[in-house]
């Protein structure tokens, strides 16, 4: 095969094919190239998902239905109402399945798990390839779903990322058939999520096998960097939770197309069963979104404090216990379905227990900094922003755990504020932190620290202005997923939309930072962060050789984490 000959003809370089050779990407079995593709994919999906949230905040800036009507494909008020629901739905799905998960697990996981455990590559390089390439297929199906009829004549699925039955079914009946989603949009979405799930499960199996079998000599489980621990816990959650989602989606598919009645009460089914199945997946899913961020923050805090991680074992097993407890708290998402006193009491108690390992993590990060010699480089800014904002999102989670007050907060903007504090200000801050921590390693170039720092402050201010006022809207009772609102909610909605403009400026500046970095090409050494960066990836050149660790490194017992 000419590909191999060409590669060998390249001599003793490192067998790295040209980046302009499409075969390098289409047929890639290299964990670093696949990681890069995941990151590029996540950035593109994030921009699309972020644009959708821009439409949402534009529409909600003032009472009344206005801005959406000015979109070229919206011809009447009904179309605008449906499109608002569609925008909310795909914003959530894209950010979760096509931005945060690909960035954290596919991107940083692929790049740095093998490097950190001293492995030459992932255990199943060709499975790694298909894990990635299923994702664009899935995303294409989601985009087709966006553009085909969903409810009646209206395009796209507008039932929220949770896809609750019966809204996501096509049974008709009732006074208003358009209340259901009789069009193919929902079917495309089911197929899209099935394929995204398959992609994630294949990736998860690959990570489990790699971490269990390919650690370098001396790299025991209890010597693995915490980022590897976080990925290990995350992929176990994926393997256990995603099949439940796949089952629920398959039941929806057969309910829609083959006249089964899993969720149709007229045929003996139960819509609430869908919610139980969905959230049995959905709650572990939110930990899937945040756990790799925990790992990245641990690496960053330790590096820039020039101090080993405080309470390493406690940190690792806090993540394990968060993962385990995460499977037994799902119904706190559905306190209002009428589950009764006993179940509510159980789910309150179980949910609040999660605050304990989470608190251990927060305080251990601070203890890692305590006594350190801290360099406030850009990744450290993101990590410290993460610690504080995740705390704020965490404590409102404790409030919501109490079903007594959740009666007031359920499905209001208080919930929207809570989960954006832990995800938009938690997971996304961790992703930016990880990106600015590792991009010199991945690209070989240093970025402009001033511009990147400015981006942090723009986004820190922006997202807080977007989401903090939403607590107030929720307390006043404003329900989520409403396209229009009474004038009594106007003030804080307006402020929130102003915050979006600041955040958007931050995102644009991020693209400028990226472009500037690749244009100016400042060389980054093997280790730009100094002695605090003690994990194995910093022992390699930047960027690392195409194939690393042809001779396995040996990890000594006294090696730091």
């Amino acid at each position: 095969m000419s590909h191999h000959e060409a590669a060998h003809a390249g001599g003793h370089e490192d067998h790295r094919p040209s980046i302009y050779d499409p075969r390098r990407w289409l047929f890639s079995t290299n964990h670093k190239d696949i990681g890069t593709m995941y990151l590029v994919f996540a950035i593109i999906a994030g921009l699309i998902g972020g644009a959708l949230s821009g439409l949402i905040r534009w529409e909600l800036a003032d009472p009344g239905i206005g801005p959406l009507l000015s979109l070229p494909w919206i011809h009447d008020v009904d179309a605008a109402k449906h499109f608002y629901d569609v925008a909310v739905t795909y914003h959530g799905l894209i950010m979760i399945f096509f931005m945060v998960m690909p960035a954290m697990i596919g991107g940083f996981g692929n790049w740095f798990v093998p490097l950190m455990i001293g492995a030459p590559d992932m255990a199943f390089p060709r499975m790694n390839n298909i894990s990635f390439w299923l994702l664009p297929v899935s995303f294409t199906l989601a985009m087709i779903s966006f553009l085909v009829p969903g409810a009646g004549e209206h395009l796209g699925f507008g039932g929220g990322w949770t896809l609750y039955a019966p809204l996501s079914t096509n049974w008709g009946g009732g006074a208003e058939p358009a209340a259901y989603h009789d069009g193919p949009a929902m079917d495309f979405l089911i197929l899209s999520l099935h394929i995204a799930g398959a992609s994630s499960i294949l990736g998860a199996i690959n990570f489990i096998t790699t971490i269990f079998n390919m650690r370098a000599p001396g790299m025991t489980l209890h010597r693995m960097p915490l980022f590897v621990w976080s990925i290990l816990v995350t992929v176990w959650l994926l393997v256990l939770a995603l099949p439940v989602l796949a089952g629920a989606l398959t039941m929806l598919l057969t309910d829609r197309n083959f006249h089964t009645n899993f969720f149709n009460p007229a045929g003996g089914g139960d819509p609430v069963m869908y919610q139980h199945l969905f959230w049995f997946f959905g709650h572990p899913e939110v930990y899937i979104l945040i756990l790799p961020g925990f790992g990245m923050v641990s690496q960053i805090v330790s590096t820039f404090s020039r101090k080993p991680v405080f309470g390493y074992l406690g940190m690792a097993y806090a993540m394990v216990s968060i993962g385990l407890i995460g499977f037994v708290v799902w119904a706190h998402h559905m306190y209002t379905v009428g589950m009764g006193l006993d179940l509510e009491a159980y789910f309150i108690a179980a949910t609040m227990v999660i605050a304990v390992p989470t608190g251990i993590k927060i305080f251990s990060w601070i203890a890692t900094m305590w006594g350190g010699s801290i360099d406030f480089k850009v990744p450290m800014l993101w990590a410290m922003g993460f610690i504080f904002l995740f705390t704020v999102g965490g404590v409102t989670g404790v409030v919501l755990a109490n079903s007594g007050v959740d009666t007031s907060f359920h499905d209001t903007y208080y919930v929207v504020a809570h989960f954006h504090y832990v995800l938009s200000l938690g997971a996304v801050f961790a992703i930016f932190g990880g990106f600015f921590y590792w991009i010199p390693k991945m690209s070989g170039y240093r970025y402009n620290g001033f511009l990147a720092g400015l981006q942090f402050w723009l986004m820190f201010i922006g997202v807080n202005v977007v989401f903090f006022p939403q607590h107030f809207l929720g307390m006043q009772g404003m329900p989520r997923r409403h396209v229009d609102y009474n004038e009594g909610y106007a003030y804080w909605n307006n402020i929130s939309s102003l915050g979006y403009l600041i955040t958007a400026a931050g995102v644009l500046l991020f693209l400028v930072v990226l472009a500037e970095m690749f244009l100016v090409k400042r060389k980054a050494g093997a280790n730009p962060w100094g002695e605090g960066a003690s994990t194995l990836e910093w022992s390699l050149s930047s960027p690392p050789p195409f194939h690393q660790f042809n001779e396995l490194p040996v990890i000594k017992p006294d090696a730091g984490h």
């Binding site: 009472p63 449906h82 629901d85 507008g158 609750y164 019966p166 009732g174 006074a175 208003e176 358009a178 209340a179 259901y180 009460p265 089914g269 139960d270 609430v272 404090s305 405080f310 406690g314 209002t336 379905v337 009428g338 009764g340 006193l341 509510e344 009491a345 309150i348 108690a349 609040m352 227990v353 605050a355 304990v356 601070i366 203890a367 900094m369 305590w370 350190g372 801290i374 410290m384 504080f388 705390t391 404590v395 404790v398 109490n402 007594g404 007050v405 009666t407 007031s408 499905d411 006043q476 009772g477 329900p479 997923r481 409403h482 396209v483 009474n486 004038e487 909610y489 106007a490 003030y491």
Partner: protein
């Protein structure tokens, strides 16, 4: 919105506080719950304001203070040589045990509250609420009252407000319904909630009530309104295109007024004999 509008909104909220306290509707620029109208909502507000809010603010401020201290004390200039400790049993035990204790305190308040919310007391009236896409159906099965309430169109809102300068009784866009639901003050009302199609949720913030309306299932909750007034709510489970356009408007009125309304709707009062033609003038209940 301009800054002067902020001050105007805040000022009107304070100045009109006495009048607005009667109404269960959102106040622009407010940062708190709506004024409660049931003991349950008062309990929710008390649990949130006296326990949860102080605790979460204290925890957040504590973490922020630690971070700021670390920034000032342990930056590279202030502390050039990092220390190397990685364990301290004492603080690790403290930051495990203290959060557990805080959670036990929260639970001690949380469990009694859900018992009061979930255990429905003997009730005088039963109200059946049925969600539809996109309107509400209300029925007092024992009284023979059955009404349908959908969104009051914008032109009707303007028309009603044009002839009515009374701020208390003005119609509100997206909150006012074509038909108000009347409930008697001071009576335990048991609410049965279901749906004819997709899932909706019936919610009145001032009552501390929010329950899903689910096809094939009858959920129940209750309230006992302790003052007269107009209380608004909105559908609180995404139900499709017009999710934001199926408002809930509840008028809490005296018993006498409530009984008058029941009769006017063609219903019968519980004291009346069912067989007796007590209200021959009233039309038959429309179903």
């Amino acid at each position: 919105m301009t800054r002067s509008a902020l001050f105007a909104a805040a000022a009107s909220a304070w100045a009109a506080g006495a009048a607005w306290a009667q109404t269960g509707a959102p106040t622009d620029g407010a940062i708190h719950f709506q004024e409660p109208a049931t003991q349950i909502m008062r309990d929710i507000v008390a649990f949130h304001d006296n326990w949860l809010l102080p605790i979460i603010v204290a925890v957040s401020v504590f973490v922020l203070a630690l971070l700021l201290y670390v920034v000032v004390r342990f930056n590279r200039r202030a502390n050039p040589t990092p220390r190397k400790f990685t364990h301290n049993m004492t603080v690790e035990v403290i930051w495990t045990v203290v959060p557990v204790a805080i959670l036990v305190v929260i639970a001690s308040q949380s469990f009694p509250l859900i018992i009061r919310e979930e255990q429905i007391p003997p009730s005088e009236y039963t109200l059946k609420v049925t969600g539809n896409s996109w309107f509400w159906n209300y029925e007092y099965p024992d009284l023979g009252v059955n009404i349908t309430a959908s969104r009051l169109p914008d032109e009707d809102v303007e028309a009603r407000n044009a002839g009515n300068p009374d701020a208390e009784h003005r119609a509100r866009r997206l909150l006012s319904a074509t038909e108000p639901l009347l409930v008697p003050v001071g009576a335990n009302v048991r609410v049965l909630i279901t749906s004819n199609d997709v899932i909706h949720a019936w919610a009145v913030p001032a009552f501390g009530v929010k329950e899903d309306a689910i096809q094939g299932r009858v959920n129940d909750t209750w309230f006992n309104v302790d003052r007269e007034g107009v209380f608004y709510g909105q559908c609180s489970e995404l139900c499709g295109k017009d999710h934001a356009f199926m408002p809930i408007e509840v008028h809490a009125v005296s018993r006498a007024e409530f009984e008058q309304w029941v009769l006017a709707q063609g219903g019968t009062l519980p004291s009346a004999q069912p067989a007796e033609p007590a209200t021959e003038a009233a039309p038959a209940p429309t179903r």
